[in-house]
Structures are given as C-alpha cells and as structure tokens.
Symmetry: C2
Subunit: 221 residues, 2 copies
DNA sequence: TCCCATATTTCTGTATACAGTATACTGAAC
DNA sequence: GTTCAGTATACTGTATACAGAAATATGGGA
C-alpha cells in the first residue's frame, strides 16, 4: 500500500485548485489569508507556500505589500495560455520517438472515440479530455516539458466553469481528437500538430462566447 | 522617485540565484535551510518561500519530508530546458506583429554585432546575450509567454559557470545572432526561427563539452 | 568485525507571535 | 456636503517556537 504522506502545502494546493475549478472564488479579487486559512483549517504558513506555488503557475498574482490576488480572467488571458500549451504539446509530439508514437496511435484514436460514449457530465468530460492529452504526450522523453505543460493547464482551471454549459463540446472534442489520432496513424506528424493546434485554438473562441453569455446572465441578475 | 520596497523573499531569490550562477552551491546536494538562512541573515520563512518559488522554476527539487535539494545538472537536463526555450522563443517571434518586427530588425542586428566589440568578460557577454534575446522578443504581446521563457532561463543559470572558459563563445554568438537578425531583415520568419533554434541547440553541445572538461579537471584534483 | 536495535541529534513542516504598512473609519474645518 | 487629517483596524511579511520525522550515532550481541 502506497500511502504517500502528502504535505499540507500540497493538499492545500489541490484543494484550492478544486475550489477554483468549482468557481468558489471571484477571480480578480484579493485573497484574505486569514479567512482562507481558517476556512481550510490550517495555518497561514502552508497556505502562503501553496499560494506562492500557484502564483508561479499564473493562477494568482501577488502585489508587494498588498498580498495575493486571484489572477483576473479574460479571453485574452485564456488565449495566451492556450498559445503556449499548443506550442508545447506540438513540441512534445515532435520529441516523441516516431516508432513509439505509432504503437500507441490506435489507442489514442480509441481515447478520442471514448468521448462520444460518455454522458455529458462535466467532470467526466474533463477527465476524458485529460486522458486523451496525457496519452498523446506519454511518449515524450522531455520530463521538464511535460511538467511545464501541466503547470500551464492548471491555470486554465480558472475557466472550467465556463465549459459546463457547452452542449456541443463532446462532439467537437471527439471530432478534433479523432483528427489528431488519424494523422498520427497516417504517420503525418505535421498534420497531427496542425490538428492539435486547431483543437486548442478553437477552445479560445468557445471560451470567449461562453464568457460573454455568462457575463450577460450575471448582469441580468 | 520610484522606490520600490522589495520583499525579503524576492531579494533572497535573486541573491540565491546570483550565488547559483557563481557556482557557490553543489548542484544535486541537499539544502540546509537553517545554515542558508543564517548565511543570508534572514529567517527560514522568507527563505522557504523563495525556495518554493525556485523549485517551480526547476532550479530546486523538493522531496516530501526531506526538504529541498539543488536540482542536479546534466547535459540532458540542459537540453530539455533549451528545447523548451527554443520552441517558446520561436512562438514569441511568430506572435510578434510583422511590421513591428521589421522596425526593430536593424536594431537587433546592431545588438548582434555589439558582441564582437566586447572584451571577453563573462558577465559582459552574458549581459549582451540577454539584451539580444530581450530585444528580439520585445514585440511579443503574450506576456505570459515572456514570463514563462524568463522562468526557464533562470534554470539555465545553474550552468553559467561552464560558459566562462569558452573562448569562441563570442564569435559564435555574434555569428548566430547575426543570422537571426538578417533573416528578420529579409522578412523571412521561418528562417529566423530556424536560426534561433540552431542558436539554442548549439549551446547544448557546447555545454556538454564544457561539462566533460570541467568534470575531468575536477577529477584530476 | 559486522549487524541490528535503540537512543540522540538534526532538520523539516507547521503553528503562532510580532512588527510595520496599508486600509477604513471618524470627525473637524471649510 | 466635501475634503482632509488623525486614529483605529485589518492584513501582510517576517521571525520564532514547537512537534514529528529522518538521519546519525551508540552500544550490545553474534
């Protein structure tokens, strides 16, 4: 049994990010360390350490003397992160040994198709999406690269709540992911990269619309 | 007058990195928080916060329960970081508005040539190198990207000491940088990207040799 | 001499305490 | 009513204290 005593700081980091994903915090607002630490049932020390870690990942901004603040969200901010992730995932594909990529290509296609089978539960869709990308990059030998990608994806969790309502999300993802997988099966790396980039960049415009409509709904209340 | 009271944590971070660049620490070894904080004349709290920040940048690794450790250096580790930086700087060029890039292209060439004029003082060479890349990316509108690139470059400071002895470094850099600049002047973005990538990847093989010779010198003592 | 168990020390991870700065509030002058 | 000064409060940044886990040293038995 592999009980891995996780440090409080790490637990706090994941818990905070779960709450961020659930939309429990107002992005752009400042963070009260005392309140939050009390809410989590821990002291300020490990909380601050977790917040510093998250600020390095772009989830939080820190202003000297004024403490921490949830990094504001915007379509532009989302686009910036996505541009980086897309480029890095393309690099990861490029660095993956071609033969190993061929071996897993069919499985990647399966993962892409698995989408359509799911019910539209938001969490389940997220999980499938993560699985797909994880499998896609699983043969990349550059571990630092994989860590960097993961780090940037953390920042995107601030936008999770905007995804829940998207009806056509499942179909789109399945289509786009299948395109990537098929390109890999055809041993066409640059086509796979193009499809992968398209997959990411498309999400930007989707988010833009989702944010606009949610903002409208919010204003109506 | 713009006095900006810097937090202790930030000062520690820069001081620690300066010492890393100077080769004051043995990479791969564990970090004693008490000793280091006493040496810096601060308490453990801001030191730990700085170390956490640096661990996010890949300068330090942390093992639960065993504290911090200087991330080991190796040619492979260097190569991993360089692959990422090269890809991200290429992306930054791609995202820079073409017209703005044209405007600064001559200045970029000047910066490339400025190299040859310098004496071979290690610090001055580093500074020129940084200036060149900073100017090159100055028109990139994706701020997150620029921060990410900077973050990865911090990790490379662990290898600074291996650069000092390189005689031909100045000429090589001048040549490679000029190639980048000339491609930009010719409005050939992909050629510029190729030259930029080559510039970075070349540094990997150079580091490999430098590490081998320094290691040999160390073993001889 | 080597190995293992136990004791001791060291060090990390977390909580608490304190100081100084930023913010909010109150009240008086205009 | 508005503006400014002065005071009180809240909060961050840093230092210190404490508990528990690792690492190291000590000693006895094979």
């Amino acid at each position: 049994m592999a009980i891995q005593r996780q440090s409080l700081r790490e637990q706090i980091e994941t818990e905070v990010m779960n709450r961020v994903g659930a939309g429990d915090f107002d992005m752009g607002e400042s963070i009260n360390e005392v309140t939050l630490s009390a809410d989590l049932g821990v002291s300020r020390t490990p909380l601050r350490e977790a917040l510093i870690s998250l600020s390095q990942q772009g989830v939080i901004t820190r202003i000297s003397g004024k403490g921490f603040r949830w990094a504001p969200i915007s379509e532009r901010d989302f686009a910036e992160a996505v541009q980086i992730i897309a480029a890095l995932e393309c690099l990861a594909l490029e660095l993956s040994p071609a033969d190993e990529l061929n071996v897993i290509a069919p499985r990647i296609l399966d993962a892409a198709k698995a989408f359509t089978a799911t019910e539209a539960l938001a969490e389940e869709v997220n999980s499938h999406d993560d699985d797909f990308h994880e499998l896609l990059l699983s043969k990349c030998p550059n571990r630092r690269l994989l860590e960097t990608i993961a780090s940037h994806k953390v920042a995107l969790r601030r936008y999770e709540k905007f995804f829940v309502g998207a009806k056509d999300r499942v179909e789109r993802a399945a289509t786009e992911h299948s395109a990537i997988a098929n390109a890999l099966i055809a041993k066409d790396l640059s086509a796979a990269q193009a499809a992968l980039t398209a997959n990411w960049l498309n999400s930007t415009s989707r988010i833009g619309k989702a944010m606009a409509s949610k903002e409208g709904a919010k204003a109506a209340v």
